[in-house]
Amino acid sequence: MILNYSQPLEVTNLTSWLDSTLRGSLSEFWVLLIEFVIVGALLLAAYAVIALILIYAERKITAFFQARFGPNRVGKWGLLQSVADMIKILLKEIVKINRSDRFLFFAAPFFMIVASMLTFGAIPFGKALHAIDFNIGVLYVTAVSSLGIIGVLLAGWSSNNKYSMIGAMRSGAQFVSYELSAGFALMTIVVLAGTMQFSTMIEGQRYCWNIFNGHISSMIAFVIYLISGHAETNRGPFDLPEAESELTAGYHTEYSGLQFGFYYLAEYLNMFIIASIATTVFLGGYLPIQVKGWVDFNGIMDYIPSYVWFFGKTAVLIFLSLWVRWSFPRLRIDQLLNLEWKYLLPINLVNIVLMVILVLTGLTLTDLLPGIF
């Protein structure tokens, strides 16, 4: 089914060619080692590049929301702005803070970046662009992405700064709360899809994305996942841990240079990760739009490479996240917790039950209208 049409732009051919060439001349151990190194390097590079693109995109889109132009001096339309920023941040001095807990202070950014890197590795970017395909992919992603909070808490604690401390504590409360909702929203879809493995989950969405398949229940889960995912990334209106107008910069007030850069990168990457998981779980991942029976249409859609579909869908979600961020004022800590514990969590629990009922009684779209979906 998957390879019905020839896709010259897919990277499947490239990867299988590389694998077979290596296997032709080397032993199993060396083949795997070389492949691991290549995959690791590519992921790291992608991590940096995606972050740079996101930073540029956010600044530009924000500016357009605010009747400004945004960066437009470095390069054509300011395209090189984030590269310039990166170079600047690499060259900046890393300030040592007196009376801070040195070791933890230096370790904290790594927790943040490692957590987001681990999650990043498990995302299916396209056909054959999936570094590791666990059978418990969803669980893995939820688990490792929540490691990042340790970095935030450590940063706030070790800086020996009262603003940072308040920011970190807020972040802790926020993360613990919203991780629940995000997890439950994903579980709702796991109920629907019947699997935790990303690849199987994507394959199941060939003609009917999960967001449509579970209709009401999926929609609710999707919105809740977006909200709580957005909250987990510490971005406005949930940017209380940073809250520049209250806590100057919150937990990373004392960081400078590359250490600050780590937090900065991780923030943008987390936004990407949330959007890409939402894409994978709800919007059919890297699969193109397909309609049962429309062979020609499906052929044309299939001709567009899978990674374009993936990044396109993710970009729409990221735009949504930016739109929300730049429209609303910041929540207060009690409002934030109210939203989670009084609204999102109860709705979520009811929603899971609803989804179970839908699946068991055969009320999902694929069951109801098997001819179309």
Partner: protein, 559 residues
């Protein structure tokens, strides 16, 4: 018919004031009552508290609003003038004067227990004139460091920079306040109070902080996220404008007023011009009055837009901030075309205005009015009903009407607490008695009331401008004024409605071309003095939001 009414009204006022005079003489038989520009009552320092109390508590016309507290070095004696007025009718004014001849250890009685706003003012007087106030609970110097040598506003002050050298050392904050109290036996006791408790978790919000709107310093004791106590430190950008003014001529002083509350620059300047014009009996041409009024209202819109923008920014909505600034830019362009300045617009001079309006002025202003009305609707859609914003403003930072009067909080904040305190209505100046406008009053007293008040006042200002813009008469823009302005000996007051509340000017002239003493009443100081009260038991993020809703401007406090 109308004349009759007015006569009756004048008669009533006369009657009431006669009664007040009787009351004063009954309370303090030794009081000296003079009819100057304002009714002035001089009493000895030990009788002042009694008199102020009687005046505040009399039922017929309570003088419960302390407008200004002015310390004056009268040469022989160090004294204080209190301008009191009634909160129900701001035009009923009364000046109390007292003083002490002891220049070594001047002591007066505090009236902080009657008027909360007196506290910061008395601390200011202590810093600048060295008068200590008995029973003031906190007698630290306001504006100045505790170790400052000399009292700047005294006439014998030694301004030698070696006495107060610039220090680059970090100085620890002292949270111990000296005070001087009188016990039941009538003995004076000097002791100290700790501002904070032993285990208080204190964070410094300011002097360098993105949301203090200037160089303000709030030492804040927190209990988790909740504000327990706030201690205000001010004076980081104190420029000694009042002292500087004592050696400058009146036209030269004018340019300082733009630099007090720079967002209501034109209105401040209007206030000082009015004080000088009243004293020198200069008639301002009608065209100048029109231009002044229009420019004042434009200035008010400009200020309220910025206040709206900053408040939204304080609540975390950066986009709204940019929208506010964008609209404000149009007013600044109009200012630039009219008088060559954008923020410091430098328009009023004694006797009129410096620049006439330009040819396209009417057209520009009219198109702005249409544009602004449209944008007000957009603000309403965008922010005023946003559920997050409502949660951050409604019932947050409630200031009751009594407290508003007690802390002398005027302007949109005072009117948000249900206190009608618009000088434009109570004591109309310029053309405000000829135009029709509503005084916006809300009774909730919370951040949201102050927020809405500002937006509604923008609408009212647009309405005022609309009525005037087509009727600007031909004629001079400035009266003939002598090259050197010498004010006759006396004390002159003027009060105008600036964007943040009542701005006042006090000039004591000794017949010279320089003022003997010049004092500005800063509306922002009253706003800040109420902050510790209304922020108590709110969350620390709401502290920032309330600050945005009070909208104080620091250079106005640090004169």
């Amino acid at each position: 018919m109308r004349i009759d009414q007015r006569n009756k009204k004048t008669f009533d006022i006369y009657n009431i004031m006669e009664n007040i005079k009787k009351l004063i003489l009954n309370t303090v038989p030794t009081a000296v009552i003079e009819e100057k520009q304002k009714l002035t009552v001089t009493v000895t320092f030990d009788k002042l508290h009694l008199l102020a109390k009687t005046l505040k508590e009399n039922a017929a016309l309570p003088f419960d609003f302390l407008v200004k507290l002015i310390g004056v070095d009268r040469g022989e004696e160090l004294g204080v003038n209190y301008l009191l007025c009634s909160s129900t009718d701001l035009s009923k004014e009364l000046v109390l004067k007292t003083g002490t001849t002891d220049r070594e250890n001047p002591l007066l009685y505090s009236i902080t227990d009657l008027f909360e706003t007196a506290q910061y003012n008395e601390r200011e007087v202590f810093a600048l004139l060295g008068i200590r106030f008995i029973n003031n609970p906190d007698m630290r110097k306001f504006f100045l460091n505790a170790d400052w040598v000399g009292y700047p506003l005294r006439k014998d002050y030694d301004a030698n920079p070696e006495l107060n050298p610039l220090s680059l050392e970090s100085v620890d904050m002292i949270d111990i306040a000296p005070r001087i109290t009188e016990n039941e036996k009538g003995e004076l006791v000097e002791d100290t109070v700790n501002i904070f408790g032993e285990d208080d978790y204190i964070i410094n919000i300011g002097p360098q902080h993105p949301s203090t709107h200037g160089v303000m310093h709030f030492r804040t004791a927190l209990d988790g996220e909740i504000v327990k106590k706030i201690d205000v430190h001010s004076g980081y950008i104190h420029r000694g404008i009042e002292k500087l003014s004592e050696s400058l001529t009146y036209p030269q002083i004018l340019h300082f007023t733009d630099r007090l509350d720079y967002l209501s620059a034109n209105i401040n300047r209007h206030g000082l011009c009015m004080a000088v014009e009243k004293a020198a009996e200069i008639e301002v041409p009608e065209r100048a009055q029109y231009i002044r009024t229009i420019m004042d209202e434009l200035n008010r819109i400009d200020s309220h837009l910025l206040a709206w923008a900053c408040q939204t920014n304080d609540l975390g909505a950066t986009t709204a901030f940019i929208y506010g600034m964008r609209e404000r830019e149009i007013i600044l362009d109009i200012f630039e075309k009219t008088c060559g300045g954008r923020l410091i617009i430098n328009q009023n001079v004694v006797g009129g205005v410096m620049f006439d309006i330009y040819n396209e002025f009417q057209k520009d202003v009219k198109s702005f009015i249409i544009y602004m009305r449209d944008k007000l609707k957009e603000y309403d859609r965008f922010f005023s009903h946003n559920v997050i914003a409502l949660g951050r403003m409604v019932t947050i930072g409630v200031l009751s009407k009594e407290d508003a009067i007690n802390y002398a909080v005027t302007g949109p904040a005072g009117r948000g607490s249900g206190w009608s305190c618009d000088i434009r209505k109570h004591i109309p100046y310029a053309l405000y008695d000829k135009v029709d406008f509503k005084e916006i009053i809300r009774t909730e007293g919370d951040s949201y009331a102050r927020y809405l008040n500002r937006l509604d006042e923008i609408e009212e200002s647009l309405h005022i401008i609309e009525q005037l813009i087509d009727n600007v008469p031909e004629g001079d823009i400035c009266a003939k004024v002598k090259p050197i302005i010498r004010l006759p000996e006396g004390e002159y007051y003027s009060r105008v409605e600036a964007c943040r509340g009542e701005f006042g000017v006090f000039i004591e002239s000794r017949g010279d071309k320089f003022p003997y003493r010049l004092k500005f009443r800063s509306p922002s100081m009253a706003l800040v003095s109420a902050m510790p009260l209304i922020c108590q038991n709110e969350k620390v993020s709401d502290f920032i939001g309330i600050g945005g809703s009070m909208d104080y401007v620091i250079p106005d406090i640090d004169r």
